[in-house]
């Protein structure tokens, strides 16, 4: 029971991070390997707000999310749009975007190390325990989970019931046909990329409440988000959430029962199973 709940709490935050990347990859078609660095930047911002200004990280989100949105929008327009324009095929865009975002990822790590130093950072926010089903959990994890559910739920509602959400889904299904029904693919792609970045940075702020971050930890989160997306299926929100919870529980179980140093190996085991048996994602249909 303890493993299930801890895993669920962790999985909720993972789901939010993976949703951000899924928007960027599923809609804007950019395999953003600098995603983890955006997360760390969000965490840094929350840390900085809390230690320097005594600002509650939940309140800090009001600033972090719009700033991340703007930064990612600019990144897409300046750095990635030219790659989209020059790409002859989806495969060529994938190679280019992977290399470019690797470059950004290393550059961001370099800049963050330079600006904040290479040390670990964490802060004590709501570190008191709460009692749930006769075991105790840290309050910050519960709060982070609740926020992830609220934000993820809002995102899902927005994507499902608004006109812009419909446009995003149209581009995700087929970027070549979307212009035929009057969708501005460029604007929607930029929007999706920016929104994805904002969601990821929000996830980073939530993670920083209970997880010790440092400037170079981003790639680990990128890795996990990628595994979740492949497990859940590209562009599939429901699959992403289920996969994130599975990963959260699997990691917690391995950390508790076997060794805390094996969490990535646990994620890889899941990844391997998915690649072998369901490469189209948990709920995906086999490509005919």
């Amino acid at each position: 029971m303890f493993i299930l709940i801890t895993g669920l709490l962790l999985g909720g935050t993972y789901a939010l991070i993976a949703l951000g990347l899924n928007l960027q990859y599923g809609v804007a078609r950019i395999m953003n390997l600098a995603n983890g660095e955006m997360l760390v930047a969000g965490g840094f911002a929350a840390f900085w707000f809390y230690t320097a200004g005594q600002i509650n990280p939940v309140v800090g989100l009001i600033v972090i999310a719009p700033v991340a949105f703007a930064v990612n929008w600019l990144l897409y327009r300046i750095m990635l749009q030219p790659l989209v324009n020059r790409a002859k095929s989806r495969g060529a865009l994938e190679v280019d975007s992977i290399l470019a975002t690797f470059g950004m990822s290393f550059a961001f790590v370099g800049i963050m190390t330079w600006a904040f130093g290479g040390g670990y950072f964490n802060y004590a926010f709501l570190a008191q325990p709460v009692e749930l089903f006769s075991s105790s959990y840290a309050q910050n994890r519960v709060v982070a989970f609740a926020l992830a559910v609220v934000i993820g739920g809002a995102l899902w509602l927005w994507l499902t019931y608004t006109r812009t959400g419909l446009k995003l889904r149209a581009v995700s299904v087929n970027p070549a046909s979307a212009p035929l029904v009057g969708v501005d693919v460029r604007a929607i792609s930029a929007l999706a990329f920016a929104l994805g970045g904002a969601v990821t940075a929000t996830g980073g702020a939530l993670v920083s409440m209970f997880f010790t971050l440092d400037a170079s930890v981003g790639v680990l989160f990128t890795m996990k988000a990628l595994i979740i997306i492949i497990m859940g299926g590209v562009g599939d929100i429901r699959g992403t959430i289920v996969a994130a919870v599975i990963l959260g529980i699997a990691e917690t179980a391995v950390a508790r029962l076997v060794d805390p140093g094996l969490t990535l190996a646990a994620a890889y085991l899941l990844f391997l199973l998915v690649l072998l048996f369901r490469p189209q994602g948990l709920f995906g249909k086999a490509r005919g």
Partner: protein
């Protein structure tokens, strides 16, 4: 062999002989630099053999390399040293075949993602096994000197070049160029695309593991965190792409300047190496898509050389 091939072969042999003399006339500092360059030249050239024609970016180099260093670490007392790179190459090839079988049937993204975390995953597993058995790191104390390592790497490099040249002429090489241009066409012409890719991916796997096995005596003390440092994979990718993967000599053209630059940056501003790596990636994507080879070809076309 045509006259042109004989000429190129003689030039290559002459350059190799010149490189082999480095320990005789060079200072110890340049021997160290030369060994590092030889290491990256071997890794980057073998990397480009697979990733050049297929456009699949492999980040597994560090994992294979680490496995190789551990082969030496575990076996150098029981076995003669010359056997270790061979064993490492065998293990590397098998490991590459397994990774290839799982990921190369699918699209390139899966492959990149899988190899991205591979070094870290192998490191976690090796650390765990060591914790279980109570061993931490290990000492590799041999009588192998740096100049012997250098010569071994040169020999391996020559082998990689020869292999690359042979693959380029073979049916496999031809099949891979077709796959790289259009996988659907390749499939329809009756090429077993997955098998061809897996077979070729075994080459960098084996070479990287053998390189690791040869270099282990240089590190003296081996522990998982240093043996499986993921940075190595990225350095190899960047050097190969900077040089260009279109020609066999391309990666070396990237290795030499980048190793020198890396050395300068590490000495002057050790914290900025990652920034340099990032900027180099961006440079390749936005300014030099074909690397130095691409630049060279473009210049030659523009100024009408036919050589």
């Amino acid at each position: 062999m045509t006259a042109r091939e004989i000429r190129n072969f003689l030039i290559a042999a002459g350059l190799l002989a010149l490189c082999a003399l480095l320990p005789v006339y060079g200072s110890p500092y340049w021997l160290t630099m030369g060994t590092t360059m030889a290491m990256f030249a071997v890794l980057a050239t073998s990397w480009a053999l697979f990733s050049g024609p297929t456009h699949y970016i492999s980040l597994a180099t560090a994992a294979f390399f680490g496995v190789g260093t551990f082969v030496t670490g575990l076996g150098f007392q029981a076995l003669p040293f010359w056997a270790l790179p061979l064993i490492a190459a065998g293990i590397g090839a098998v490991l590459a075949a397994l990774v290839g079988l799982v990921t190369l049937r699918l699209s390139g993204v899966y492959f990149v993602i899988f190899t991205l975390g591979m070094a870290e995953m192998v490191r976690q597993v090796v650390t765990w096994v060591q914790n279980q058995t109570g061993h931490r790191g290990m000492y590799v104390l041999t009588s192998i000197t740096e100049r012997e390592i250098y010569w071994m790497l040169l020999g391996l490099g020559a082998l990689v070049y020869l292999l690359g040249w042979l693959i380029g002429r073979s049916r496999l090489g031809f099949a891979l160029r077709i796959i790289g241009n259009d996988e659907t066409v390749a499939k329809h012409s009756g090429i077993d695309t997955a098998l061809a890719k897996v077979a070729l991916f075994m080459v960098p796997g084996a070479v990287a593991a053998a390189t690791g096995a040869m270099l282990a005596p240089r590190y003296i003390y081996i522990e998982p965190a240093t043996a499986f440092a993921p940075l190595l994979s990225f350095q190899v990718v960047i050097m190969a792409l900077l040089g260009g993967t279109g020609r066999l000599w391309g990666p070396v053209a990237g290795v030499i300047p980048f190793t020198l630059l890396w050395e300068v940056i590490t000495r002057q501003a050790p914290n900025q190496t990652l920034l340099l790596l990032g900027l180099a990636f961006l440079l390749i994507v936005y300014v030099l898509p074909g690397g130095f080879v691409g630049l060279w070809d473009r210049l030659r076309r523009r100024y009408g050389g036919h050589g």
